[in-house]
């Protein structure tokens, strides 16, 4: 059994519990997601652990369901961005030449427009549904992953073992998935933790601005938006999602750091 450092352990426990809560939301939430069960902004009590929200829904249940939506969207969008970004990045690095130039300049073009503005423009003309959100967020973020994976792959691509594979006559798919990918994994995994958190923030921002998850569906950004007026009255309902986002961000990063540390020393991997 390997020894897990304390920081990573804390990260693992928090991350795992967030994900478990997200998966089993319907069994854990004391009330329905959109069910009005009390007065407006009731304080914390045995009946409503976190109080109620701006129209009298149980805040804990909203948080649990909201976490489910936020984490699901962020995970799916991260997967989309990593699959497209890394496959395209590796391909560009391996093929090189004008293909690489064309793809990289196109990515530069997209990246020159601020992501949030770009997303707002796209989402204001497209129907705002969850799959659409995932695709837009995933593709916009894929530009960052593309950059990283291309840079890593360019380095690996000039190593002798890749040249040996090319001399053997291996196809591009073998070179990308069997020679380059295993050696590029550790920086990519570390980046994945970071990008996942950006996705959480991104979807929360969009929802806060009203272009993300649509009510009555709960999500953390949306909960902040619904309850932000309470802050003036000293009601802390809007702070809970903020706390949730912050703790999730920290714990995911603790795990990512640990993974990076472990994999770089593994079997003479890249340091």
């Amino acid at each position: 059994m390997m020894k897990i450092p304390l920081a990573a352990m804390i990260g693992l426990i928090f991350t795992a519990s967030y994900f478990l809560v997200a998966i089993f939301a319907p069994f854990l939430a004391p009330y329905g997601m959109a069910e009005v069960v009390g007065g407006v902004w009731e304080p914390m009590s045995a009946k409503h652990w976190l109080g109620t929200d701006n129209i009298g829904r149980d805040l804990l249940s909203r948080m649990i369901y909201g976490g489910r939506t936020t984490i699901f969207i962020a995970t799916a969008a991260t997967l989309v961005s990593f699959t497209t970004g890394s496959v395209l990045g590796f391909t560009a690095a391996v093929i090189g030449g004008w293909v690489d130039q064309a793809m990289s300049r196109f990515v530069d073009l997209i990246m020159s427009i601020p992501t949030l503005i770009f997303a707002l423009v796209v989402l204001s003309v497209m129907p705002v549904t969850i799959p659409m959100l995932i695709i837009v967020m995933g593709l916009l973020d894929a530009t960052r992953v593309y950059r990283l994976s291309r840079a890593v792959a360019v380095d690996i691509n000039v190593m002798d073992f890749v040249e040996a594979a090319k001399l053997r006559g291996e196809g591009r798919a073998w070179i990308i998935f069997r020679e380059i990918l295993p050696n590029a994994l550790s920086p990519l995994v570390a980046e994945m933790g970071l990008r996942f958190i950006f996705m959480v923030l991104f979807v929360s921002t969009l929802s806060f601005l009203g272009l993300g998850v649509q009510p009555p569906e709960a999500d953390w950004g949306g909960i902040v938006k619904e309850n932000k007026d309470g802050i003036v009255w000293g009601i802390g309902a809007a702070l809970w999602p903020a706390v949730a986002i912050a703790t999730l961000a920290i714990s995911v990063n603790l795990v990512a750091d640990w993974v990076l540390n472990r994999t770089t020393s593994l079997k003479g991997g890249r340091g």
Binding site: M2, D160, F161, R168, E179, K267, G268
Partner: protein, 545 residues
């Protein structure tokens, strides 16, 4: 005894290691070494990698690099034990009493500062010299070390001088503060043979003229024999033999020393030219993309089946480019390549799988030539699967056969490259090439990164395998001792031209052209006085000057 400059008694050095998957633990890398060094004398430390020679060299400055700790013994320099002295005293010692010349001058100089500023820095920082005196002394040293334009070379930046010159600048840097002891850590290993001998001579004269004591660390016994008074042979942190140069070279006592002394003397009987060549390069001219000069000019060579053609030259001579042209990685601008009676397509991408299979390559750096995330079994097994469609038990059987051929066992099949030694890594690369059942293997400096004894084992293995598999080698190297040991015919290259080509006997018999003469005479020989003889007799300046 009391007047010796350096006195080391029972020196023990330890280090912390971090093996993957295990707890970090301490090991001892030097187990009690004793020696004395008097003023004006040179002690050569010799051994293969991991022998602890650099570590001992740095111990004379009471310094341990990266997790290395001096755990026991005494190091007396100028009458005090520097392992017990104060930090302030150590600061005075390092850089003024004891200085250090590293293997790679290019990596040791700050590229953003002029050479002069760096050469005099240590001398003036301790207040030993004024800036003006230090500069005058540096110019004097530049002149002594035979650097061109000694008055102005200091105002250049490190990238504006050649590798051999920079190595001499570093020697000037070490000598500038008038130290008592200079530690030379493999100062000529990274240089071409023809450049090496100039640097070696410069170092030797500088040591003689300034009267400093020196520790000369190297893995090459022939080199150390030229500059030292005494030699200490080290192996795995233990002293194997310690004596005068004359005794070590002419009358070695221990088996290990005997092996080191005889390492370069193996000769390979030349095979007579046979019928049809397996490889024929005609009028090859090549240049790299985006440049406007040819790196190969009209090269013509032939290689017979089951024989070895050695391509010799120093860095920049175009020998590796020739390999890239033959493999198709760099399509030639002009000329044709015939392989096994058929014309090879110029570009690798348009060659058939059969062409690719019959022409394999082995690289200089075995550790980057293998994917660090694949096991030995996967690495050797892939060509079997790819070219012959072998699977499962059949593939495994063949992998084991190949492992036997390279004198490694089945127990290596699940290991990763990081778990192998340098020689074992190169063996696995050989097995990977053999797995394809090739007609020709291009060996690009395959022994240069290895210790001499290991390199010799690899050469013998290659020769044995040539007998068994009847494969031809195109052997690229800068080392003429290797050539003598393996070649049937030789091509000497210089600045992209083929200057001499023929069977081994033809090429190695006089009369020589100037370049071949320079190259042949520059290979260090295992006898005393060789260096002076060569410098006195040669006809041509080395290219590095």
């Amino acid at each position: 005894m009391t007047d010796s400059l350096v006195k080391i008694r029972g020196l023990k050095i330890g280090a912390t290691v971090y093996p993957p998957g295990e707890k970090p633990h301490d090991i001892e890398i030097v187990h009690g070494v004793d020696f004395d060094l008097e003023k004006g004398k040179v002690l050569g430390l010799i051994g293969e990698s991991g022998a602890g020679k650099s570590t001992i060299g740095l111990a004379t400055m009471a310094y341990g690099r990266g997790g290395v700790e001096l755990t026991g013994g005494e190091v007396w320099v100028n009458g005090r034990d520097i392992l017990k002295t104060s930090v302030k005293d150590l600061r005075r010692l390092r850089g003024t009493e004891v200085t250090y010349v590293s293997q790679s001058a290019a990596a040791s100089f700050n590229p953003a500062k002029k050479i002069m500023d760096q050469v005099i820095e240590a001398a003036i920082s301790q207040g030993k010299f004024s800036k003006k005196d230090a500069e005058a002394r540096a110019v004097e040293l530049f002149r002594k070390l035979g650097l061109p334009d000694p008055d102005n070379i200091g105002s250049r930046y490190p990238h504006q001088v050649s590798g051999g010159q920079l190595q001499r600048c570093m020697t000037a840097l070490a000598l500038c503060p008038e130290p008592d002891l200079v530690v030379f850590d493999e100062p000529t290993t990274a240089l071409d043979v023809t450049t090496q001998i100039d640097v070696l001579m410069a170092i030797k004269e500088a040591i003689r003229d300034t009267g400093v004591a020196a520790l000369y660390i190297t893995h090459d016994l022939a080199v150390v024999a030229q500059v030292s008074d005494d030699i200490m042979v080290l192996k795995m942190g233990d002293t194997v033999e310690y004596g005068s140069v004359d005794q070590i070279i002419n009358n070695p006592q221990e088996d290990y020393t005997k092996a080191l002394v005889s390492v370069r003397s193996s000769e390979h009987p030349e095979k007579p030219p046979t019928t049809e060549p397996v490889l024929k390069c005609e009028h090859i001219t090549a240049r790299y993309k985006g440049t406007n000069f040819d790196v190969l000019h009209d090269v013509n060579v032939e290689l017979r089946p089951g024989q070895t053609l050695a391509v010799v030259g120093e860095s920049g001579s175009g020998k590796s480019t020739l390999a890239r042209v033959i493999t198709g990685l760099l399509p030639p601008r002009d000329g044709r390549i015939e392989f096994d009676g058929r014309e090879l397509s110029r570009d690798m991408a348009s060659r058939s799988r059969e062409d690719l299979r019959e022409l394999q390559m082995i690289y200089q750096m075995a550790d980057v030539a293998m994917n660090p995330r694949q096991t030995v079994g996967t690495i050797i097994g892939r060509p079997l699967e790819f070219y012959f469609g072998l699977k499962g038990a059949e593939k495994r059987k063949r992998i084991i056969e190949l492992l036997d051929e390279i004198e490694m066992g089945v127990e290596f099949i699940d290991r990763y490259p990081a778990e192998l030694s340098g020689g074992q890594k190169q063996r696995v690369c050989i097995a990977r090439a053999l797995a394809a059942k090739p007609k020709l293997i291009i060996c690009d400096e395959v022994t240069s990164a290895l210790d001499p004894l290991v390199a010799e084992e690899i050469l013998n293995l290659l020769l044995n395998l040539q007998e068994i598999e009847d494969v031809a080698y195109l052997f690229i190297t800068h080392d003429l001792a290797t050539v003598k040991a393996i070649a049937d015919s030789i091509a000497v290259m210089y600045q992209g031209n083929l200057v001499r080509y023929g069977t081994k006997t033809e090429v190695l018999s006089p009369p020589f052209d100037d370049y071949t003469d320079l190259l042949l005479s520059s290979v260090p020989e295992m006898r005393l006085g060789w260096l002076e003889e060569v410098i006195a007799n040669r006809k041509m300046e080395s290219a590095g000057n």
